[in-house]
Amino acid sequence: MYAQMVKTDSTGVKSIDDMSEQEAAFQARIDRDEKIEPKEWMPDNYRKTLIRQISQHAHSEIVGQLPEGNWISRAPTLERKAILLAKVQDEAGHGLYLYCAAETLGISRDEMFDQLHSGKAKYSSIFNYPTLTWADIGAVGWLVDGAAIMNQVPLQRTSYGPYARAMVRICKEESFHQRQGFHIMMKMAKGTAAQKRMAQDALNRFWGPSLMMFGPSDKNSVHSAQSMAWKIKMNTNDELRQKFVDQTVPQAEYLGLTVPDDTLAWNEEKQGYDFADPDWDEFHAVLAGNGPCNKERLGARVTAWEDGKWFREGLLAHSKKRAAIASDAA
């Protein structure tokens, strides 16, 4: 899940009395679980919110290539190198599907890139953290992809057709990534003392940022209600965070690693874990551009785009020449 705090331009759900006839009919289709397709009528706000959400997700995929890409050159075996390279390449592929899905709503990929590069559009806070050891590659797969899957599996049923279909493809690959990440963690946690130390250190650093991936607590999440009514958000932030913790804590125990939360305890009554909030001040600082790697991550994307300008223009110039020759011949 790579969409956090997506604005809906409203702070509450429009009631049926406030809706026009067209809006009411649209909402009724969503309530019947019908898919909305690109050419069909939709409220402006639905369109705008979806563009924000899908493009934020797409940006997260391509910025998300960077922290893992940081270890491709140092992957410890040829097989690990191939798996990691394939994974980071998959993320570029996810970005591509998602940009295409957003384009069906009437925005171009270049416009979305401009929004990313200018800082107007956001990407998930998690990718502003550094990957410092090989265990971080395991932790990213296990925790970050694990958290992403929590949100993306329900989004396969989201109301907008192209988004739902992109999500089906993405989820298949994400589950595979998560298993690979867990496998790296297992090797590390069951390995030498040095490897185990790396694994614990990775969990210590990625636990809080992973919890932040679900966005702020429901009581502070002003945009959720309308998005849920439109079925472009399927669960609340806190529901998903709880589900993630409940799934992940036993896995950490299996690995023999300690979750860095002294307050963590099983709550028999709610049949789930009680756990501490992540540091929300840190979360807001990262979103505001002040995380450990914001400048490097966005800087790398901007550099890639600017350095690639001559390449894109060169290809364009060639195709214009070809077209001119073809039309002369015709």
Binding site: K81, L85, D307, K309, G314
Partner: protein, 262 residues
């Protein structure tokens, strides 16, 4: 015993074969390592994906060649042991593949000059009497056919593109062409393997490379420089300064934690 044995009595079939296989595996490994540095940094999303695909193919090819090299050597070294536990002077890749990425044009030109050699070489190796070599060559020549198609196409489009793309591609060609000739050398070991019926006849690769390079450069409106071949020496373990840094990066974890499994 043929004339080559007489000229170099230390040359054995297994020794020559091990050297050729590490040459093939190391070329793929070093070039794959170089290409993978573009992942997440390409000039367009589609290019990022396509180049990562080529890098992935090359890493896969490395595993096949180096595993066979380890078998031929018979000292129990796996592909990983060969990739991660040799120092630069035991690497047998050509200098071309260890050249830095430069701009995307240099990366593409390096790829094209390599692919134009790689495909005819592999096709010749599919005719090797030694089935282990023929089978690998058969499998990977399919991948490399696509690599060559793609790199030729991009060299043509960028050479015959904008003024700037033309200038960059010409600069890349001028810088890299001298390093490409090393790939075309037939060593005494190669000649022994051909004459002893181990590998297919690879002596026609140079002519095929020349033909491909000249025709693509013509379509790309690029002029082939007259500069002489760079000294080379990769197949004797003599490398440029670049390789040491590349290996320090590639081998870091295996070297720092030799008792760990991953």
């Amino acid at each position: 015993m043929n004339a080559l044995h007489a000229a170099n009595p230390a040359l054995t079939i297994d020794g020559a074969l091990f050297e050729l296989l590490t040459h093939l595996g190391d070329n793929s490994l070093i070039l794959g390592q170089r290409l993978s540095a573009w992942c997440g940094h390409g000039p367009a999303l589609e290019e990022d994906i396509a180049l990562a695909n080529v890098a992935l193919d090359l890493i896969g090819q490395t595993q096949l060649w180096l595993e066979l090299a380890g078998d031929v050597e018979g000292q129990g070294r796996s592909a990983d042991a060969l990739a991660y536990h040799r120092d630069a002077f035991d690497f047998r890749n050509a200098h071309l593949v260890e050249q830095p990425n430069g701009d995307f044009g240099q990366t593409l030109m390096r790829q094209f000059l390599f692919d134009a050699w790689h495909l005819p070489l592999l096709l010749a190796l599919t005719k090797s009497p030694d089935n282990r070599i023929a089978d690998i060559a058969e499998k990977i020549s399919k991948e490399v056919r696509y690599h060559l198609e793609r790199s030729s196409d991009l060299v043509i489009r960028l050479g015959d593109g904008s003024e700037e793309s033309h200038r960059r591609m010409q600069r890349a060609l001028d810088a890299l062409m001298p390093h490409a000739y090393e790939l075309l050398q037939i060593t005494d070991g190669d000649a022994l393997l051909i004459s002893e019926g181990v590998i297919g006849d690879i002596t026609s690769v140079t002519a095929q490379w020349e033909e491909q390079v000249n025709s693509v450069l013509a379509l790309a409106t690029l002029s082939r420089p007259n500069s002489p071949a760079a000294p080379g020496g990769g197949r004797r373990g003599r490398h440029t300064e670049h390789l040491g840094y590349l290996l320090a990066d590639l081998q870091f974890l295996q070297r720092a934690y030799p008792d760990a499994t991953w």
